[in-house]
Assembly symmetry: C2
Homo-oligomer: 236 residues x 2
């Protein structure tokens, strides 16, 4: 068991002790566990160390923390995994390839009704629609179709997306506060299959992403990945 220079337990140690109590049903599902101050005394650690450990167990889904009611053992823990959403350039380079980007189409268009709904942009009459291809060592990595709102991304109608991907432009121009991701499997057809240079009917991973700034829609993105692509969660 790792201990710091003073011999005291670290928060990971406290988390391990707590997990053992959960496993042994000393803290059964639905039970209220002892208050932080009591656990701190028992384990001989500071209250903030207990707090950090319980926060980790709550993030893992084992505990429900309520401000007033105390900390309860979850009846049915819901585990969580984290998806990192790196720049496409960084994703391709991390996979050991040379990144490339090609703008296929760009138009300022009347805001599609469904998009206005999904992004909550009813007052936005026109949006920018982009179609682009991301490449790895010159071969198709992902096909992108994207809409961007000029309300939350001022200057987007003037930006040069032939020179720089929307991905990179947005990251440095618009700080977004939330990202929603939806993943499905589809069969590649028509233009997407042609752009990905794969056969019609191949199974491809399609990722849709909605990015918001303080609740207002910035961009909706539909990424069709070349066959064989895999999305992995990141630790922590």
């Amino acid at each position: 068991m790792a201990a710091d220079a003073t011999g005291a337990l670290g928060w990971q140690d406290v988390a391990a002790l707590a997990r053992a109590r959960l496993a042994a049903r000393i803290w059964p599902p639905g039970a209220i566990i002892p208050p932080e101050a009591e656990l701190a005394r028992e384990f001989g650690v500071s209250r903030s160390t207990v707090n950090r450990a319980l926060r980790a167990l709550a993030e893992e889904g084992w505990l429900d923390r309520r401000r007033k009611a105390g900390t309860r053992v979850a009846e049915r823990p819901v585990h969580r995994a984290t998806l990192a959403i790196p720049l496409m350039r960084d994703e391709v380079e991390a996979a050991g390839h040379r990144y490339g980007y090609r703008l296929l189409d760009r138009e300022v268009t009347a805001t599609p009704g469904l998009l206005a709904l999904q992004l909550g942009m009813r007052g936005v009459p026109r949006v920018l629609r982009l179609e682009a291809l991301h490449l790895a060592d010159g071969r198709p990595w992902a096909h992108e179709e994207r809409w961007i709102s000029p309300e939350t991304a001022p200057g987007v109608f003037e930006a040069d997306f032939a020179a720089q991907s929307a991905n990179e432009w947005l990251v440095t121009h618009v700080p977004c506060s939330s990202v929603e991701v939806s993943v499905s499997a589809e069969r590649a057809t028509g233009r997407v299959a042609a752009m990905l240079e794969c056969e019609d009917g191949e199974a491809i991973l399609v990722v849709e992403r909605i990015t918001r700034q303080e609740g207002r829609g910035v961009t909706l993105l539909r990424l069709s990945h070349a066959p064989g692509h895999r999305i992995r969660s990141t630790p922590g």
Copy 2:
């Protein structure tokens, strides 16, 4: 702007102010932002409120927090999305269906070499292999193939998986500390296509999950979802 009863700003307000500074490049990429104590004075809030706000921005990928070096604006923010991993029963019921479960196969088997590697269970000679079907309103929802280590899940060889899914048994018997998820698109073939009652070649979403307890492998799961399935990230 929401303020509490005392008129002070909340952490969400401080986060919004910080995001505005990032957007305006008052805090440009790579810069070290002012210390928490200074921001607390400036915004008229407690240091813990500033800390909570900066933690949120760090979780969103905008800031890199280093213990000694201070808080730096990320050069290339990596956004994150969270996947909830509910019980299959809860997932099916949340989609408005009646949940069903059928054990298809169960065997205690010599630990496959690749599995031993992936789960870090070199000293575990035998594991339990299960094959099962999850149903929604009596129709196939997902086909499951799973291996469980008796080292980290004691009692697993004796459990009755015809009566209860491994999903539910594990959740109440083994507190796991980490989940790794990998998602891909595949074409359904052979037994999986037959069990999912779909055509050979249909695009299906395949989710692999590795669950660990304190770094030791508990289970590896391969879930093949019926066509049309979608995985959505959860807010926060």
